[in-house]
Symmetry: C2
């Protein structure tokens, strides 16, 4: 590991520079791979915490466009650097740029910019699973910054989803708060061996750092050369990610991830982009579930651009592909990266719609199959599919690969996406005409659901 100059700016105004080994880093191109230091602690929610699924917190439109002015008013600044880290972090973006269509549909986006609530930050934080990573005082001070608004969104998404799952399961999430010594940290919520859920993980991470110019160049793939102050560029990455593995083989596994990156140039201007997606991995095909899931996503997408759903659905099928098996991981959903158009406000509004669609996408399916009876054979097939899930996550998922390769990562948060149990049967081949064979057929030939 290369020794690199790490500049830490605390959330106060003092600036300290130090030499350090890279010990953590930024969120990777995808997914359930938080960026994490080893220091974690169990945490109990703030007093008065209650489930606020119904309280749709909204943000005021700030009317910002493309680049936003940064400088002194920015988030108390930030933290980590290291070419390797950032290179890997953004490998996903590069790969997507090469292989997939890009999310450049600026001119067509609908003007539906949702107003935000002017709710008090402190009040909203009381609904979270844990205090946010950033000091509440800092969030309050920088209420209008996109980094604050996104951090509030991912914390709310985590809380809403965890509480919806707790309600249906009867169990409680274990909440681990951890911090990176290089800057930032995260909150991992895990429920294991519940009544309904075999393993449910919902993770938030917010990390800061500095990139070298070389790393920044690799980070952004649109031919832009970024100029840093003394060769370094402040950088921040944050996201919420989740994988839910239910016990009942008739309830599908769901995964989602929504993330935001910011990088600041010498002149104070910012590059920023969003990424994310939600996808479903059933054990058996249920047309009605698939239609509900995809329709709900499509509705959320259509509010913003008519091409979002068809484009991001294809991108999803391509990303979650287990190449050595010639099959997708599940029946897809949406996946996008590098989204920085038509403007920051509208891009954020789209991400917000997606994040708020997670509960309505998934919970009705969970509730519908809650009491479905199942056989031992169905459970076995679920376990075989879980094995494929492990294969995808360990072999292909860029976030996981990047996280595992990074010293100082919080491994438990990265691998929380793995199921509690999985199975590998030699030469497992479902008999023709069975429901298992029908599932495989769909995985080998992704369908257009809506």
């Amino acid at each position: 590991m290369a020794t690199i100059v790490l500049c830490l700016m605390a959330q106060t105004t003092t600036r300290r520079c130090l030499l350090a080994h890279l010990k953590g880093l930024a969120r990777a191109g995808e997914s359930h791979s938080p960026l994490v230091s080893a220091h974690s602690q169990s945490f109990t929610s703030l007093p008065r915490t209650r489930w606020s699924r119904g309280s749709s917190v909204r943000f005021m439109s700030q009317g910002t466009t493309g680049k936003t002015a940064a400088g002194g008013s920015r988030r108390g600044a930030l933290a980590l650097t290291g070419a390797a880290a950032v290179t890997a972090a953004v490998a996903g973006v590069l790969a997507n740029a090469n292989h997939f269509q890009r999310a450049e549909m600026a001119t067509k986006v609908s003007p539906a910019v949702v107003k935000e609530e002017e709710g008090d930050i402190l009040e909203r934080c009381r609904e979270f699973m844990s205090p946010p990573v950033t000091d509440i005082a800092v969030l309050q001070e920088r209420k209008g910054d996109m980094s604050t608004r996104m951090e509030m969104l991912i914390m709310e998404t985590q809380a809403d989803f965890c509480k919806a799952l707790q309600e249906v399961d009867g169990g409680t999430f274990k909440v681990d708060r951890w911090h990176r010594k290089e800057g930032g940290g995260g909150i991992s919520c895990v429920m294991q061996d519940g009544k309904v859920f075999e393993k449910a993980g919902v993770n938030v991470s917010v990390v800061f750092g500095h990139l070298t110019e070389e790393a920044a160049k690799q980070m952004r793939s649109r031919g832009k050369v970024l100029k840093g102050k003394d060769g370094k560029l402040p950088f921040c990455a944050m996201g919420v990610s989740s994988v839910i593995h239910p016990k009942n083989p008739h309830i599908p596994t769901v995964h989602f991830n929504y993330r935001y990156f910011e990088i600041e140039e010498e002149d104070g201007s910012k590059q920023w982009w969003f990424g994310g997606g939600t996808d479903l991995t059933p054990v058996y095909i249920n047309e009605e579930d698939a239609l509900h899931f995809h329709n709900t996503l499509k509705e959320a997408c259509d509010k913003h651009h008519s091409q979002y759903y068809p484009d991001f659905k294809k991108w999803c099928d391509r990303y979650f592909y287990i190449r050595h098996r010639g099959e997708t991981r599940g029946i897809g959903g949406i996946f996008f990266d590098d989204l920085d158009s038509p403007n920051q406000e509208e891009a954020f509004s789209f991400v917000k719609s997606c994040a708020r669609t997670v509960v309505p996408c998934y919970l009705p399916i969970v509730n519908k199959h809650l009491n479905d009876p199942f056989t031992e054979e169905e459970k076995d097939w679920q376990q075989v599919r879980r094995g494929r899930y492990v294969e995808f996550n360990l072999v292909y998922d860029r976030g996981v690969k990047f996280g595992l390769a990074t010293p100082g990562s919080r491994i438990e948060s990265i691998l929380m996406s793995l199921p509690l149990t999985a199975r590998w049967e030699y030469m497992h081949e479902p008999a023709k005409g069975t429901r298992e064979a029908k599932m495989l057929e769909v995985l080998q030939n992704p369908k257009e659901w809506v």
Copy 2:
């Protein structure tokens, strides 16, 4: 995938050249990753098959040194090429050259060259789990070639080990014979959900090809530039590999792999080298088992060179290291690669000693714990350790990574090393002082057993 010129020479004397996509390839630096095409078939052993564990087949010393003359008398020659394939195949060798000590102890090797039996090839083949990959007539014709002698050794090793396991389990191995359309093939023997073994796989593969000079250069790391005829170099790779996952958590998992590479230069001279190793992955530390296992390996090594065991033991601990966990996969054994000294005969003799040590290393441990009672908690801990096994194999094992990345590989043979079942518990941390904690302590700080 690059389209490459593939020259196939059948085992007859006809030579045909054709353009083809690379669809398979040579054995990777490590391990349980056979190289494989998709065409497989179930197979029943030759008539008169019986377990020949006691019949120690030996080879006549040929007294060959360093390079051997090749040319017309070589194995029917042949087969696959493709820089990517070979580059990956030998990435292990390169990595080892950079990170580990090398197996260059030529001057010190003992002169103990074991005589081989002059047994009839056909008779010996009757003991195998399947006819060998190479036509028996070809093997008979080229009885003295190292490729023939190694193919006989790996087939014998497979048969001896499978039969020893069948005897103890009472079950029967499923034998799948498969061939690569680009040349060569393999024999996969798998027993699943037996009385003693949850999953037991023993695989042989024998593949042939041509390398480009560039690929050959990357293949050999000792600064040698290899010159091919018209830029291409005939190449062959073969090996036996196995992973055994027992049901009882008091019986450890074992893995071994012994392999041989040959590459032919323009002037007909050959580069060749051996690689391999045997290592143990217990669920609980049993000092007596560890001593037996390591002592048996040490004895086999000491017959050839006093540095082999200490050097290859260290190499093993370094190779089977789960970096993101900071722990080794198991309690080690031996691991070596790129072994081409002091001469071919002695190197082969050493590999033969190792291969013949597999049964005496492992079977006494199996038999000793066959009827050990175990608790549900012990079984759970076994499943957690199986999860780590999966992590190593999917994230780090060069053979698996290479195999999965190669179109046309026989995935079922590559992934036969995965356990039938595995488990990932969030934040699993054995309590201090428990036997689980003691196991972890050893994995985090590899011991010198003998």
